[in-house]
Amino acid sequence: MKSDRIKFLVFALVVLLVPLPLSGGYLTNVLIFVGINSVLALGLNLLLGYAGQISLGQAAFFGLGAYGSGVLTTAYGVNPWLAMVAVALCVALFAFAIGFPVLRLKGHYLAMATLGVGVIVNIALNETVELTGGPSGLSGIPNLTIGSLTFDSDLKNYYLVWVFALGMILLSLNLVNSRFGRGLRAIHDSEVAARVMGVNARLMKVQVFTLSAFMSAIMGSLYCHVMTFISPNSFGFHFSVELLTMIVIGGLGSVYGSILGALLLTLLPEMLRTFQDYDIIVYGLLLITMTIYLPGGLVEGIPALLRRLVPARKVTEGSDA
């Protein structure tokens, strides 16, 4: 318990100090998206890595959050913070409502149903042109402000996004190490046994689905205010698969694994720009390779690799890290 706290504090400290030497350059900008993707991946990991329920439509909740905030603040002049809360609650309600029928399904059928939700939402964003601007996107979204502080630079947005991200990471860490988190893992291991133990599996699956949608919607709102321009392309099936790849690479059923996966898969495409059009192939290959050779993801793989490479005595010192 105590070592978990220290681990989080060290992580938070690193996050808060990292941009200082970068002085707001290009990398800071990329790290904003690492923050957003971390929370999106974390939401999906709570659902898939902990409760064992797949979703291929996570980008839809992210998109609904972004477009909800975008439309409310540009077309209707709603206060952005108010819009963020209202939109996140509506998206959560939407997820809760579709969660009951959708999460009765298992395996491939669940994957297909959530995929369908993602596709439908994406089509809706493209087709409701007078509201969303359709395929050409929605522009002129205002930056967020607190009093006289406007979040208009990369450095300010970095701290804005990461304060939210750190908050959600902390809450998720609490959640997975609690009665609720144990219930989710029990459902994952054996749903029949969990139900016989009095765990209300149906409700808990819907609850965690709703939570992941809520987290995604909040990040969507932040994303639209950081970018000030959004288009439906960012919220398609492609991005849902990218999120899935993040958690498989980072580590299913690991909070920090989600962040590691988000970091790698956000930085990598930036570095390998030449791959741009073929990145879906790279994701596919990564998914296959990881599930075959490293099913626990990098959070398990790296320590295991170190144990092999580094002489035994050194590892006993560092094995707690």
Partner: protein
């Protein structure tokens, strides 16, 4: 305590159970025996709500629970263990028992993510209670071990501890001695008697006749989905119909 009234179960054209009626007396240890394919496990699955019965009713303390799902029956005190041990393999031994304490605690999504003070004290209480239960089945030293790595015998003990965490009124055990060696079976017999001494009614399906004759107060014999006999172990041993079912005609 638990009454089965005219239970029937059909899977398509196959009749697995027909007209099963008996009472499990409060505080007793009741054994359900019968040759392979007699319908013993199906009867357990109907009693615990894994399958709905095709006919008849299941009553717990006089209340009809036939329509309740497994988790609803668990909350009322009807708890089971599985023949092939259904543990949460990726969780630790202690965590497995803590899941068993799910119905004894209430913290939900919000209390858990915000670490409300009452949630923290509840968590501490659950952890202590789980340790007591591991003590009860004599495996406290395995608390931190991943449950999937346990031997079959230890896994069985863990499953019993986890079931006891629900504070059952009646515990249904599906072949608890299956896969155990003779010394483990002897320990199991002692454990089941200690469970009965705590005031928990026990019903078990079992093939191990020595165990059944040793610990049961009452026996129910099934054969080909119907009830063949009911009585004390001594009466059953001398019942000609039972002998025929087990050993065949002379």
């Amino acid at each position: 305590m638990l009454s089965l009234n005219g239970i029937g179960k059909r899977f398509g054209g196959l009749t697995a159970l027909e007209g099963i009626s008996f009472n499990v007396g409060k505080g007793s240890i009741t054994g359900i025996i019968g040759p392979n394919g007699a319908g013993k496990t199906t009867l357990f699955n109907v009693a615990t709500g894994i399958y709905p019965p095709s006919s008849g009713a299941v009553l717990l303390e006089g209340k009809d629970i036939s329509k309740l799902p497994p988790e609803g029956r668990a909350r009322l005190g009807l708890v089971r263990t599985f023949q092939n041990i259904e543990l949460f393999g990726k969780m630790t031994v202690l965590e497995n028992v803590m899941v068993g304490l799910h119905t004894q605690s209430r913290s939900g999504l919000f209390a858990c993510s915000f670490r409300m003070p009452w949630q923290m004290s509840e968590e501490r209480r659950i952890r202590e209670r789980a340790m007591e239960l591991l003590d009860f089945v004599c495996i406290p030293d395995l608390a931190g071990v991943q449950a999937g790595t346990l031997s079959f015998g230890k896994g069985r003990l863990l499953e019993i501890a986890r079931a006891m965490a629900l504070e059952p009124k009646i515990l249904l055990m599906d072949e608890p001695a299956a896969g155990l060696n003779s010394s483990e079976t002897a320990e199991l017999a002692e454990l089941i008697k200690r469970i009965r001494d705590l005031g928990v009614t026990v019903a078990l399906v079992e093939h191990d006749m020595d165990l059944v004759m040793d610990i049961c107060d009452q026996l129910v014999v099934l054969n080909l989905g119907t009830m063949l006999a009911e009585g004390t172990p001594r009466q059953i041993q001398d019942n000609p119909a039972v002998i025929t079912a087990y050993l065949g005609e002379e």
